[in-house]
Symmetry: C2
Subunit: 201 residues, 2 copies
């Protein structure tokens, strides 16, 4: 607000809310007001939940996931197949794959992609930890579920290289038409990949 | 998430964030992850700001605004014209008018509009408090800045009635074309109101 119309506590709340992805300055004001009106039902529980997250959330030292325990719930789940590791760039990718529920495997979060121009080399990612996990044995397949971007593919090639000495199968996600996707909205690379990998109907 | 993939603290954070206006379930997950990653820079300060708001925010007993002091910063501002009161439905309207910065007046927040079917009568709004403020004297104009809806206009008529015994001018916002608004997107009511209230060019 250009003119101060409320105590600094409210303005600070608006400013911080505006930094939450999905909220801009305008929605931050609306959100702040809603939270203030629902002080007991929403603002207080949310403040407490955030405080708990600050205290308890940590990065899993095995896989790079975030959780309230280390090792994380996925790494300690006895029902998961320990022989398959899905390598992702970010925790958000891990969550997305988990929502899809397609594989009951373990994960490894790289923390980004190789990007020499931005100063991101192998040591800035969790590549050494991944190699160590594979070296410890018991893993038969590594699925490189990195993004289909130049950086993602560069990183995939580097990882393949690093893991070439181990007796482990390295796979990647299939390219193709998204389920429900309309062909004329897709780029040519996707279309030709989908054609090449066509399956029997 | 259908399958539990993180500790209950993180899932609770996501659930509560999903109740913030502007964030749905999907953006709540993204927001939670971003907050967790920026634990020290964003999550901790936001948790603290929310905690402070829980402790300090109250409703102004004079005007119905929310602030960290009662009476609020607007009611105690010696530079504001105390002879004009702008009546609004909601604190969000007060904030919007303050951002416009068009008037340096005091406010009165009704807390909604009359809506008998929803059980909202005069006693559910701050109408008695408004009448008391006017009865105390010193106010020469009441601007009814309620929404241009049926409920808003019904409420405006009721207020005019309640204040008819006092020596106070009652005005309302002008109808017209929004600044920058395109005519062919406007409804007929707005257009005919804008024509009727046309001004000399
Ligand atoms: Zn883990
Ligand atoms: Zn006030």
């Amino acid at each position: 607000m250009s003119k101060r119309i409320a105590g600094p506590e409210i303005e600070r709340l608006i400013q911080l809310l505006a930094k939450v992805p999905g909220l801009g300055p305008r929605s931050a004001r609306r959100a702040a007001l809603h939270l203030i009106k629902k002080k007991e039902q929403l603002l207080a529980p949310l403040a407490a939940a955030m405080g708990e997250a600050v205290d308890k959330v940590r990065v899993c030292s095995t896989c790079g996931n975030v959780d309230t325990s280390d090792p994380c719930m996925i790494c300690t789940d006895p029902l998961r197949d320990p022989t398959t590791i899905i390598v992702v760039e970010d925790v958000s990718d891990l969550w997305a794959l988990e929502r899809a529920g397609a594989m009951n495997a373990r994960f490894h979060v790289l923390g980004g992609t190789l990007s020499p121009l931005d100063g991101v080399g192998p040591d800035q990612l969790t590549i050494r930890q991944l190699v160590t996990r594979i070296a410890e044995g018991g893993v038969s397949e590594v699925i490189l579920a990195v993004n289909a971007t130049v950086e993602g593919q560069t990183t995939a090639h580097y990882l393949t290289d690093q893991l070439s000495g181990f007796d482990v199968k390295i796979t990647r996600l299939a390219h193709g038409v998204p389920v429900g996707g309309e062909l004329d909205y897709l780029d040519e690379g996707t279309l030709s990949a989908a054609l090449k990998s066509r399956t029997v109907f």
